[in-house]
Point group: C2
Chain length 155, copies 2
């Protein structure tokens, strides 16, 4: 239901949020997010197209966030790779429905509204700062490595 592409985009952005000022090479990102490299490359293109990340090719190249993690909501990420819009008029174009949605489309619109609500008020920075044992996507080794230099993350 929540597409693979959406999940991968959220993983990639979460990981990039840990090192917002450095270019992360795609192979490294693929390894840490456990996303197939070819698939990830396409997801990164979508994210770059939505201006959430910026990249540089070649040796030393990679991707980094285009703006601070605190200014990128999870909804921004989801919207960069998939269409998620409230239903405003009858999707079948029925003239007598128009903006008066039928019960089926009212329900579908409700589901969409709830997804939007879940993702819109959470930023990538919120994920990193969330209390708890686990940091997004990080195994123990990576977590330790990332945690020793919090200043770098916040710079």
């Amino acid at each position: 239901m929540l597409s693979q592409t959406t999940e991968y985009a959220l993983r990639a952005m979460s990981m990039l949020a840990y090192s917002p000022h450095e270019l992360t090479p795609t192979p490294s990102l693929a390894e840490r997010t456990k996303v197939p490299a070819n698939y990830l490359a396409k997801v990164l293109q979508l994210l770059a197209g939505a201006e959430l990340i910026q990249g540089r090719r070649g040796v030393g190249g990679g991707y980094k966030l285009s703006r601070p993690a605190a200014q990128i909501s999870l909804l921004d990420v989801v919207r960069a790779v998939t269409k998620i819009e409230r239903i405003r008029t009858c999707p079948l174009g029925l003239a007598n429905h128009g903006p008066n949605l039928c019960p089926l489309h009212r329900k579908t619109d409700e589901a969409i509204a709830r997804i939007i609500e879940t993702y819109e008020n959470v930023t990538l920075q919120d994920l990193i700062d969330a209390p708890g044992q686990n940091m997004p996507l990080c195994d123990e080794k990576a977590t330790t490595r990332l945690r020793v230099d919090p200043a770098l993350r916040r710079r």
Copy 2:
């Protein structure tokens, strides 16, 4: 976000719920749901595979619901065509995460929970019985036609 296939499956099932005791031919269903016939045929196969509908080929053939509309939730329909499961363990298989989801996957799990919640307690019959001006998927002409014989729908 909510896939085209999911939307089409919900449309098809809503329409079949209006005439639960008759076989509706696929071309007629395609026309009334405004779904491309080839695409609809595939969706119907998925719904039949999940035993929500049953069909017969040939002249006079088509599909009908396998059980009363009041016993088919929208979640049943959604689950017949797409995977929608709560996240129980780390999708990356990180050993130190396990069932303790990180903030990213807690949030994704929350979105999934909300979709499930929206669809699980509503049946196809609820859609038809919902008060309001519009019946699911029906234009004025069809609505009139369907409304003149409510006994048939409920039989």
